[in-house]
Subunit: 227 residues, 2 copies
């Protein structure tokens, strides 16, 4: 291994913003939540921070995201996407460039992953986070809200089969506003991304048809990047 | 300055993909072109590569992009956007994470910046590039084609005042296909992003009205990231 330059004193870390949905009760509306991890070391020991860690020299960036997520939160999301590289000089006492990923996990998965030292907060009611992690979450939320409009990203928060009301609730939680049910139904039916099943959900309400996503459409179009 | 960990042997570089337009003659159609720099050092000495360089410890990432662009190509684009962080283990003989930016420059600016060791190639007729730079250009082109559809990104390739034919030509060069002039006119007129001026371009064709972009609209929506 040749080194054409001396160490330039910049370290590379990976952090991940993982969004999920939570309802306090069945009647409650869903809210976007995310996990943060209590820092057990300086700098900023004791503060909440995004799950993450150092990139190992022999490890790809996305592998680091998966590994550090599993180590800190026990989560294994099916889908990770690179969000942005944050590298400002003053963001940490030492120079750290953080490659940030984002991911979605379903409510049942996120509930099963409760771990010591990890807390889930409403995305809009976060405590002060370590370093520039509050700004990172703001940017991730902005990307999520944008992306839900032109991709099937909501799929990452839903079970395999769901009603149109379930889907609308995901959109409402992400966008932070109510959507008109009739307009919403028309838009998703015209989008070609949903396939109706022959099954219905029954219960206290009138039966509601279950849908699934058209698997021929990519979850998110990453272009020529490796999938 | 405290160092909580030893050097982990990963270095951080910045590279930039700068797109411009070129016409061989006034009658020729515009093509998307980009500059590459001949490598004067190993590894991969002699190959063409994207302009870039190492991040200095006291330098923000975007500053590195601007500095290395100026040093290698003489270009100073008005707009730089982060594209993606490329960090696969095998992309270079040593471990290098490259934060890639992309930019647009107008044809007159790019023509004025001709430098020793820099060549401009059609984006679709590139020679083999060093490292994974061909894949990086493919991804940047994909982003450019996507982005031109939902933002005023074409502005970065146009002078302050332009005709609708000029604007259509930018779209055609980026998308690689012809657009119907009447449909195109209707779409941009409905978009609210253009302001007609009282001036016309005259010449061998019938006079064509000059437009300018509505400066109240951001060039690209970067959300809560610093502008």
């Amino acid at each position: 291994m040749t080194r054409s330059r001396p160490d330039h004193g910049i370290r590379v870390a990976v952090s991940t913003v993982i969004f999920s949905l939570r309802r306090e009760s069945d009647d409650d509306e869903a809210r976007v939540v995310l996990p943060v991890v209590r820092r057990t070391r300086d700098p900023q020991k004791g503060l909440w921070a995004l799950p993450g860690g150092w990139v190992d020299r022999a490890e790809n960036l996305e592998s680091t995201a998966s590994r550090t997520l599993a180590e800190t939160t026990g989560l294994a999301p099916s889908y990770l996407e690179q969000l942005y590289a944050f590298g400002d000089v003053g963001r940490s006492p030492t120079r750290v460039v953080s490659i940030v990923y984002w991911a979605l996990v379903r409510e049942d998965v996120s509930r099963a992953a409760e771990q010591h030292n990890v807390a889930w907060f409403n995305a809009t009611e976060l405590p002060g986070l370590a370093f520039d992690h509050t700004a990172i979450v703001d940017y991730a939320l902005w990307r999520l809200r944008n992306k839900v409009g032109y991709s099937r990203i909501a799929h990452g928060l839903l079970p395999d089969r769901f009603t149109l009301a379930d889907l609308r609730e995901v959109y409402e939680a992400i966008l932070g506003r109510r959507l008109d049910p009739a307009n919403f139904r028309r838009q998703v039916e015209n989008s070609g991304t949903l396939i109706p099943t022959d099954d219905f959900r029954t219960g206290s309400h009138r039966p509601a048809r279950l849908y699934r996503y058209n698997q021929d459409v990519e979850l998110a179009d990453r272009g020529p990047l490796p999938q």
